[in-house]
């Protein structure tokens, strides 16, 4: 193990109570079970990258954690408190904030209004969000529907941050965005985790970029975890990644 990795390991061990803990979580909808017996434990400030081909269940997992879909089984605990199944308001109140894959912005409201309406007491204000996303500063009065793809994604993440999340779930942040923009956005995830100490879980298509900002990573295929471990380890073994995605040669 390299020195950097060893430091990462101890850093993770410092904070004793996990902020997000899933025990034998099963998720799906109707008669379809998409994720089976999923276990997870994340401490504050950790970033988890959830990778895998589509149809694998990643978005369903995110929506289930956020309480938008009821769990098929298992438990979820945030800072030790159990989350009731399928109750989005309760999950949100407990500090689990989802940035959905379709962003679900309020297109009729301006950028500033999108942030004001979501802001929770004690959460960062509009100005702090502008520090994080300077590109939005000039667009505060523009309605969200008129923003570019990249700007909309930034607004969606900002709207999540003003809620002072303990667990921030970002689903497919890079979807539909040009690679150059993605390369600028993903490092912000790292910054968020470091500065706010929130747990950040990102579902991503851009494997290399995601592994560069994450602490831990897992690859989910057909609802099962094919690979999991430190992001740095996975980044160092591209053959295992390829095999997980595309099957053995």
């Amino acid at each position: 193990m390299t020195a950097a990795a060893a430091q990462e390991q101890t850093h993770a061990d410092d904070s004793t109570a996990p902020v997000l803990q899933c025990t034998r979580l099963s998720a799906g909808y109707g008669s379809v079970r998409v994720v089976r017996d999923f276990d997870l434990s994340l401490a504050e400030g950790q970033v988890l990258a959830v990778l895998g081909p589509n149809g694998a269940g990643k978005s369903t997992l995110m929506s289930t954690l956020a309480g938008l879909i009821p769990r098929l089984g298992g438990e979820v605990h945030v800072s030790g408190e159990a989350l009731p199944s399928g109750r989005a308001a309760a999950a949100n109140k407990a500090g689990v904030v989802l940035v959905p894959d379709d962003r679900a912005l309020f297109t009729a409201l301006t950028v500033r209004e999108n942030l004001t309406v979501a802001r929770k007491a004690g959460g960062p204000g509009v100005d702090e969000m502008m520090d994080l996303f300077p590109a939005l500063t000039k667009r505060l009065k523009v309605s969200a529907g008129a923003l570019s793809g990249g700007e909309q994604q930034m607004l969606a993440v900002a709207r999540g941050l003003v809620q002072r999340p303990k667990v921030l779930l970002i689903d497919e942040m890079s979807m539909g965005l040009a690679p150059v923009i993605v390369a600028d956005l993903l490092p912000i995830v790292r910054r968020i985790a470091d500065e706010t100490r929130a747990v950040v879980v990102i579902v991503e298509q851009h494997v290399k970029l995601a592994l560069a900002v994450a602490d831990q990573a897992m690859v989910i295929v057909h609802g099962d975890i094919q690979l999991s471990g430190l992001a740095s380890e996975l980044a160092a073994s591209p053959d295992r990644l390829e095999a997980a995605y595309l099957g053995e040669h």
Binding site: G55, N92, V99, P100, A104, V117, R159, V207, K208
Partner: protein, 921 residues
């Protein structure tokens, strides 16, 4: 000129009410997806509360308690106003919490019906307590007469209009500036967005209901001194209010108010025109205004109403497949005849009326229950025949039984006209349009003294070859033979509707009800079928209307009014709008029917009938969207499923069965014969290029895979090929160009497809699901083995896909894997040349996926070329002869599975490596 201006200004009074009610409707619709038919009665209630407070009394509307309680001295204006508005707000909150919050996941129609029930309940309660006296209230606004030249107008109307406009402006500012306002607008746009932003759509809805009721209450109070009004009129206010709300797209408050004012003014102007120009009808023109305006807006700019409400919706209700139709009909017929003979006069009339209303109710079952088109005008269409049968007999000298048939045919024509808007609009918007139509037709014709005498339209006695079959008069009334005739007609109609449900047409209608897009994909001509449904429904309603006319012998608007049409719709919904038994039960429960007579005889409580029935209606809607007969159907279905399971029908795919042996034609891939060719196909949505110049060929007999990361454009490409997305470039099937053709035509020419979100019809059995597109798909194709009957073909496909044992189960009860297979079967049964499969392995595990692969090979071997989109790399790499890889809408690689697997570009596309190297420095 001045006279016109005068009348326009006169209309401001009513206009202000319409505007305020429209504002209230917009608030409740925007926040909870409820089309609040009860807004008028909330206004009525609040007006009465205010009036009583001003007299020193408190209104207590709970039955059993005294009507009012004394509070000592009369209250002055401001306290009375504030307290009344508080009452209204509390009422709004109660309605939301008790009725509409439980209905969050119910279909929009259910919510609208519940609102209707509330409206009838409240109006009924008030009418019972106060009779139909007008509300008597002292003036609120100053009633000076203002004059400008030869114009004079009472100032109170101007103040009223300005007040409402002021309220609208204040509220608009409120919604723009406050957090509550932002949250309301946010939640109205996307509920999911609200949840992830910590906004509670529930709490927002509750507050908005309180606000909406207060506004409605304010309108009710302020109009009361200006125009003395009776309970029914307040309920009728809803039609112009809904029209104004439609014009505001159920979203912009100020537009709703201005539209309301405009409608009020125009209606007043129409009244002037009616009285000054004798060529114009003397009544009905004002009522045309809402209809014309709605049609102009909706048909000209047919964007559907924004959908509101919960993320997940229940279905409308099961439409079970009737079994043993004829035996049931015979038994019921005999019982009914015995009842006719044995019942005394009043009950016999009630039973006869029940038969007739049952016929009209069955028309609602066909149009709404089966085809899913919400028509609130069925009773009015019946009225068209009812009002025509007299003149047809007398003036055109057409004898019975042809006269009622001609009348019904005339009603059919009107019914088709009523149904035309359904081609461009659906759901609640269609409901509003049909209601406006009913309202206008009633005023233009049924109430029009130009056409209808003061005592109604006389209807001659029906007679066959001189033998009178009418209901009789004096001692002979009511005659058994008339009742039997009505019974015969109703039985015939009921049998027809039952067979309709079992027919191909019935399956197609249910398919349209469930999902129009999917029905179109299965080859159903949606427009034609909708018109059919309206026509059939209208003919049935017409028959009922004619019979009702014979029963009444002198027809007045009361039997066929728009309000009564609403009541009938509610009754049918209560009884069960999706089945014949529901329609029959509705007939028995209808006003004037058997149960009504019974209640009146035993408790002399006919006034309370509507109150109790409305209460029942609201409960039923909350508990069961399928109506009263719902639980009976559910029990029956459980029993049938248990019997089927006993016979060995499986609950999951049986993967142990090997694929059937080689069929006669073993196809070989012939690379020289191109089955499907795409040339430079591009799909653009606004500024986004979803598919970018895709050119590829699919040889006959191949299994071709289409893969790529999420958002690469694969499904969009399938949509383009099958006609669901507009594209540039060309798509050719076996040399025949497909461009510009709608989906159902492409099906007929040999294309089949499945959908990623399997759009099966949960109510229909597996067999019915598969049959829906069969006839349409095969029509117009010459196939060399046409001698095989349709039945054999379906059996063959079922065997191939292992569905034989579940073929009679409703599709809604199957597992995900089985539903995938049914979806494929449905596309396969039309013998397509090319089968497009969109994620057929979705939800299948590895073993099932493998099994599916072998089945797909067999399908290919029997002559079908397959194009397959899927994320299951194991399946795709193992099954396909050729693979094309898409990314960002372009084909980035093509080749055999081995070539694709070792292609660096492909790996990078999936792992998102492209450009990462360049940028990370």
């Amino acid at each position: 000129m001045t006279q016109h201006l005068q009348f326009l200004l006169l209309g401001l009074g009513n206009g202000a009410v319409f505007g305020a009610l429209a504002l209230a409707v917009v608030l409740t619709y925007r926040s909870s997806g409820v089309l609040n038919f009860a807004t008028g009665s909330i206004a009525l209630y609040t007006a009465y509360v205010y009036a009583e407070l001003r007299q020193g009394r408190v209104l207590i509307l709970i039955p059993g308690f005294p009507v009012t309680g004394d509070i000592g001295s009369p209250m002055s204006f401001w306290p009375a106003l504030v307290i009344s508005l508080a009452f209204a707000a509390v009422l709004g909150l109660l309605l939301y919490v008790l009725v509409f919050r439980p209905l969050r996941t119910a279909p929009p129609v259910a919510r609208a019906v519940a609102a209707l029930g509330i409206s009838l309940l409240m109006t009924g309660l008030i009418a019972e307590r106060f009779g139909t006296e007008a509300v008597n209230v002292n003036a609120i606004f100053p009633t000076k007469t203002w004059t400008a030249g030869s114009l004079s107008i009472s100032s109170d109307r101007i103040y009223f209009a300005l007040t409402i406009l002021g309220v609208a402006i204040v509220l608009t500012v409120l919604f723009r500036v406050t957090k509550f306002g932002l949250a309301t607008r946010a939640a109205a746009e996307t509920e999911r967005g609200a949840y992830v932003s910590g906004i509670s759509p529930d709490r927002i809805a509750a507050y908005n209901w309180m606000l909406s009721s207060a506004v409605a209450g304010l309108a009710g109070i302020l109009i009361a001194p200006i125009v003395p009004l009776v309970p029914v009129a307040y309920t009728l206010f809803i039609v112009p209010a809904l029209a104004a709300a439609v014009l505001a797209r159920f979203n912009i408050i100020v537009v709703a108010v201005v539209a309301g004012l405009g409608i009020g003014m125009l209606q007043s102007e129409m009244q002037l025109l009616s009285s000054t120009h004798t060529a114009l009808p003397s009544s009905g023109l004002p009522e045309l205004i809402p209809l014309v305006l709605i049609l102009l807006v909706l048909v000209v700019r047919a964007r559907p109403l924004p959908a509101r409400g919960a993320i997940i919706l229940q279905t409308l209700g099961r439409a079970p497949r009737p079994r043993r139709i004829l035996p049931t009909a015979v038994v019921m017929f005999v019982i009914a005849v015995v009842a006719i003979m044995l019942l005394s006069e009043r009950y016999r009339v009630g039973l006869t009326t029940s038969f007739i209303m049952g016929i009209i109710a069955l028309s609602c079952v066909v149009v709404t229950g089966y085809a899913g088109q919400v028509s609130l005008a069925q009773l009015t269409i019946a009225g068209v025949a009812g009002f025509s049968v007299g003149p047809i007999s007398t003036n055109l000298h057409i004898a019975f039984p042809f006269a009622p048939i001609v009348a019904a045919l005339f009603a059919t024509v009107i019914g088709v006209v009523v149904g035309l808007p359904a081609l461009r609009i659906r759901g609640l918007t269609l409901a509003v349009v049909t209601l406006a139509l009913a309202y206008a037709l009633e005023a233009l014709w049924f109430r029009n003294l130009d056409f209808v005498g003061a005592s109604g339209v006389a209807v001659p006695d029906p007679a066959i070859f001189g033998w009178s079959i009418g209901i009789g008069s004096g001692h002979a009334y009511p005659r058994v033979r008339f009742a039997i005739m009505c019974l015969v007609v109703m039985t015939a109609v009921a049998i027809f509707v039952a067979y309709l449900r079992r027919s191909q047409l019935g399956s197609q209608l249910l398919a349209i009800r469930a999902n129009e897009r999917s029905a179109a994909a299965a080859g159903v001509s949606v427009a034609k079928m909708k018109i059919f449904a309206f026509a059939i429904g209208a003919f049935m309603a017409g028959l009922g209307g004619a019979l009702l006319a014979y029963e009444q012998r002198s027809v007045t608007y009361d039997s066929f009014s728009a309000i009564n049409g609403l009541v009938l719709f509610g009754t049918v919904y209560l009884a069960g709008i999706t089945s014949v038994s529901g329609g029959a039960f509705a007939g028995i429960s209808a006003t004037g029917g058997l149960i009504y007579i019974f209640v009146d005889q035993v408790w002399s409580a006919s006034g309370w009938y509507s109150v109790v029935a409305s209460l029942l209606l609201v409960f039923t809607v909350i508990l069961n969207p399928e109506g009263i007969v719902g639980p009976a159907h559910a029990a029956l279905a459980k029993r049938r499923a248990a019997t089927d399971r006993g016979r060995g029908a499986a609950d999951a795919i049986d993967t142990s069965e090997p694929a059937p042996t080689q069929p006669a034609e073993a196809a070989v891939i012939d690379p020289t014969r191109t089955e499907l060719e795409l040339r430079d196909v591009s799909v653009r949505y606004g500024g986004v290029v979803a598919v970018d110049g895709v050119t590829l060929t699919v040889p006959k007999g191949a299994i071709v895979g289409l893969i790529g990361p999420n958002g690469a454009g694969k499904t969009t490409l399938i949509d383009a090929i099958s006609g669901f997305a507009p594209y540039t470039g060309s798509v050719t099937l076996s040399g025949e160009p497909l461009d510009g053709r709608p989906p159902h035509e492409r099906i007929r020419v040999g294309l089949g497809r499945t959908f990623q979100a399997i759009e099966l019809y949960g109510d229909l059995s597996v067999t019915e699901n598969v049959k829906v597109g069969l006839t349409s798909a095969l029509r117009g194709k010459t196939r060399h083995d046409d001698s095989r009957s349709e039945f054999d073909r379906i059996e063959e496909v079922f065997e191939l896909l292992g569905l034989t044992d579940v073929r009679n189960r409703p599709a809604g009860e199957l597992s995900q894997g089985q539903r995938q297979l049914v979806s494929i079967a449905r596309a396969l049964v039309g013998r397509p040349d090319v089968l497009l499969l969109d994620e057929p392995a979705g939800g299948l595990d590895t073993v099932e996926s493998h099994w599916l692969g072998s089945r797909l090979r067999t399908i290919r071997d029997s002559g079908t070329t397959i194009v397959l989109v899927d994320h299951d790399m194991g399946l795709v790499l193992g099954l396909c002869d050729q693979i094309h890889v898409l990314n960002f809408g372009k084909v980035i690689a093509s080749g055999t599975p081995a070539e694709i697997r070792s292609n660096r570009t492909v790996t990078e596309a999936y792992l998102g490596d492209a450009h990462a190297e360049e940028v990370s420095s």
